[in-house]
Amino acid sequence: MNWQPTTNQETRQLRAQMNHDIRTFFHQRHVLEVETPALSQAGNTDPFIQSFQLLNSIATNNTSRFLHTSPEYPMKRLLAAGSGDIYQICKVWREGEAGRNHNPEFTLLEWYRVDYSVQKLMQEVSDLLHALLPSLEKKDKKFTYEQLFLEKFDLNPHIAKHADIVKCTNTSIPSLETVDLDRQALLDALLTHCIEPDFESDCLTFVYDYPASQSALAKIRERKDKSSVAMRFEVYLGQSELGNGYQEETCYQRNKDILQSENIQRQKLNLENVKQDENFLAAAKSGIPESAGVAIGLDRVLMALSGINTIQKVINFPWDVA
């Protein structure tokens, strides 16, 4: 049997140091470390994230439980209960996400800041990543989603006609069949195949103001030209996507509508319905404070720290040998 870890001792030491540095960072800023359940009665309804399900176990009384894909729902319950600023370092699971940059089980750092704007949170993400990665010397780059598409394709992703996005995709990614792709999938393809590879390799790139259709649980803001954008950002180190942050949606009705619309979209995509988190919705009804939150993939940060370019080599026992 190949029982040995895929990491070396140096990488293990770097991980321990990284975790220590993160805890110091948040301790100094008076952000409280918390824990929430990994195995919950409800799952993530996001149609593009698949939860692992534990089925028909005697211990769960013949109902299924879901391994969390992020601690978002219970951490927001803590916010609603008056926890104030909180962070968590935990393992999360996403079915089917495997590759050189993905392991179905991975480590997430997620934190929430009460009364923060998403801009202020972006600054804090930058502060943390620069503290963890002192070799990052270049100034961060910041682009709106719109700017990236205008510069690369002369295409406005918020108002372009579907046919024009299809045409752009066919020209830019000839290897992709575009017939059954909707607007979001086409934009996702252009972003991942054509725009991300252009990001500078040795600095942080922030992308913000996503299409409103990709808001997930982020607030939506109307702009002067009447188009709407999601108050969401992604942070990249080089071409590697490290994390995703929101101006958190605090309106109960909109949170409820999003979960329901996600399950409707699941149906369209022929995916199983996921039991929505009623506890989260009840907390939202009682009132989640205005806040901004973000989740960072720590295995990818460790890849940057160690200079190792496959995620399997920074995880002691990756999926295939776990």
Partner: protein, 190 residues
């Protein structure tokens, strides 16, 4: 009909696309932070050998190809077909010109080749990396000339033309790398 989902993609997986069998050479999973994931693959057409790029949306399905790679002994050619045999079952397969085109000059009776079968018919043939072949034609050897790198043309029993060092004689058996067509050494006496 068996199908594969993109989450089962890995190198070596064989499937049918536009009527042709393909094998996955490289598979890369890409996903924006939120939203649609894709499998970007490099795939080789098993009929033409051409490698192309293809991007699948996660969750897409492809039809599995009934492709097998089997060790077989080469028997003979009859002018139209090249005949191979499975050494254990003695089952014989006739390969057409298209399947053996690239390896025609490396076919030697009783040698073992990897024959790729698609729907039970030979699709391609891969020779062993190293073969021992007899020189059937070359200029006489120059005794004492051991100049490094000096070579002369030679023809081997299977018809392939190779370059050999000057000291090699007609009738000798030499070891050849079929991937590069290069002479490696004199074959050891068996």
């Amino acid at each position: 009909m068996a199908t594969y989902n993109t989450s089962e993609f890995k190198s070596g997986l064989k499937f049918i696309m536009d009527g042709d069998p393909y094998t996955i050479v490289e598979n890369e999973f890409v996903k924006p932070g939120k939203g649609q994931a894709f499998s970007r693959v490099k795939i080789r057409n098993l009929k033409t050998g051409r490698v192309i790029d293809k991007t699948f949306k996660s969750g897409d399905k492809v039809e599995a190809a009934d492709v097998m790679e089997i060790d077989m002994e080469y028997l003979y050619e009859d002018g139209e077909f090249w005949h191979f045999m499975e050494p254990t079952s003695f089952e014989q397969h006739a390969a057409g010109e298209a399947a053996i085109e690239d390896v025609k000059h490396w076919l030697k009776a009783q040698e073992i080749y990897i024959v790729t079968l698609w729907n039970n018919a030979p699709l391609s043939v891969t020779p062993p990396n190293f073969v021992d072949l007899k020189i059937t034609e070359c200029d006489p050897g120059v005794q004492g000339n051991t100049a490094q790198g000096a070579t002369k043309p030679a023809t081997v029993e299977t018809g392939a033309e190779i370059k050999v060092p000057l000291f090699v004689e007609e009738g000798e058996v030499v070891k050849i790398d079929t991937r590069t067509g290069e002479y490696l050494s004199r074959a050891k006496e068996s």
